[in-house]
Subunit: 285 residues, 2 copies
Amino acid sequence: MKKIVIVGLGLIGGSLALALKGFEDYTVVGVARRQTTVDYALSHGVGDDATLDTEGAIRDADVTFLCINPDDIVTFLARHRDGFKPGSLVTDVCGVKTAIMAGAEVLPGTVDFIGSHPMAGTEFSGIEHALHDMFHGAHYIITPRAGSRKENIALLERMAHYIGCRDVVNTTPEAHDAIIAYTSQMMHVIAASVCDDPSLFTCKGYEGSSFRGCTRVAALDVALWAQLFSLNAPALVDCLDVLLENMKKYRDVIASGDRGKLTEMLLYSSDRKRKMDLPGPDLLH
Amino acid sequence: MKKIVIVGLGLIGGSLALALKGFEDYTVVGVARRQTTVDYALSHGVGDDATLDTEGAIRDADVTFLCINPDDIVTFLARHRDGFKPGSLVTDVCGVKTAIMAGAEVLPGTVDFIGSHPMAGTEFSGIEHALHDMFHGAHYIITPRAGSRKENIALLERMAHYIGCRDVVNTTPEAHDAIIAYTSQMMHVIAASVCDDPSLFTCKGYEGSSFRGCTRVAALDVALWAQLFSLNAPALVDCLDVLLENMKKYRDVIASGDRGKLTEMLLYSSDRKRKMDLPGPDLLH
């Protein structure tokens, strides 16, 4: 049997360990920092095996997934740079890619590091909230390096499909971070900001699906998201500036009482959203 | 049989006609402006009957639901003030209440008008998107008048439970509008503003559930939402000013690179969201 090692059995690592079980001729081994997590994984079948022994696990891993916080990934790569099996694939699951790919520069040429970002998650943390179907329908983004081996990219694609992802999107770390600032990080800033309103606790009984949809992710993992925001600060600040400006325009037109102009703006925005949701050009003929 | 008349067979009126079928000893009759809508309702069982004849329908309705746009409700009440059955209950389903309750002042004392706002909906419009389970789990808000009859409030409550609502919340039009500006209207302004970002169309393949959750409602019914925003402009502008300020604070701390302060802010916001989602004090002992 070949071996997949998952370092970090939190929400995403745990879900990956559940979802990857039975993949081809691989056994799935989770690595945790606490015995209670190892015990939980073993008793709940999160992966095929679990251990506290990081060095021992990665030494003969054919694939290593780093499912820890971004700062910890960079530290881990530096500390274990010579501890990975030569010829193996190392990847991660984290929501920023430029900082991670830079951190992976410490690895020897015998180890193939390809960045991964499966776009899935919930507002919960920890192995007890892991879900075997966490990745169903999600995009799986990869950021290979110039020297990444084709067979490793193909292996990641097979794993992504096995865990239920909708597609695999291949891009650069810089392009990833620029667009993720908009599609993911900014959504978390919006949700947190909405919850800072003094009215929050009086709104029970008056909330509908739009409120729940917007604010769900405000109950975020603080350490993780502080790192993600910080490691992608310039792109995130740019997006927020655009949003603040666009929202201010709505605020001003609503305050002005100009219904004609408001209607025009809503036609523009709603039309963009409908176009965005249309199937692509290849599906339209 | 007693008669419930639903004026306006759009998304909400159509869903209500589906959901109210079989309620006690009432027959459900839909009123539409177009023959195609009447035909659709008749052939798809949206209500027990459907007609173009507004006057005839409301003349012997025991309950009339006005499921049309807010401006049209005010016009309808003025035009048909003497057309409702004496002793009957008239209500609506619209997302602002102060303007509607003011419009209802034209009615004679023999007609009991109670405002309703079932907090449900989707981003689609029209009878063909109506759902029999649209109201499952939703809050049903009512704004009775000082003279509203107890038996009519009780009747509304029975109907709300019959269509699957989670609870019935009784409040004033002013309180409703102040909090709805925050929980509902502002969510639509956020969604529209996010979709105005030039990056929208390049984000395909990079969006996750947080993006879908936040932007879903941007594909809104423009005429309806332009009216809702305008009729509740002062409250909505106040909420937007608070949001703009809170979001600007996040923007500034992310730009500053002060991770300690960012962490502190995220702890505050995420803690509020978790507290908000906790069961109430009566469930915690």
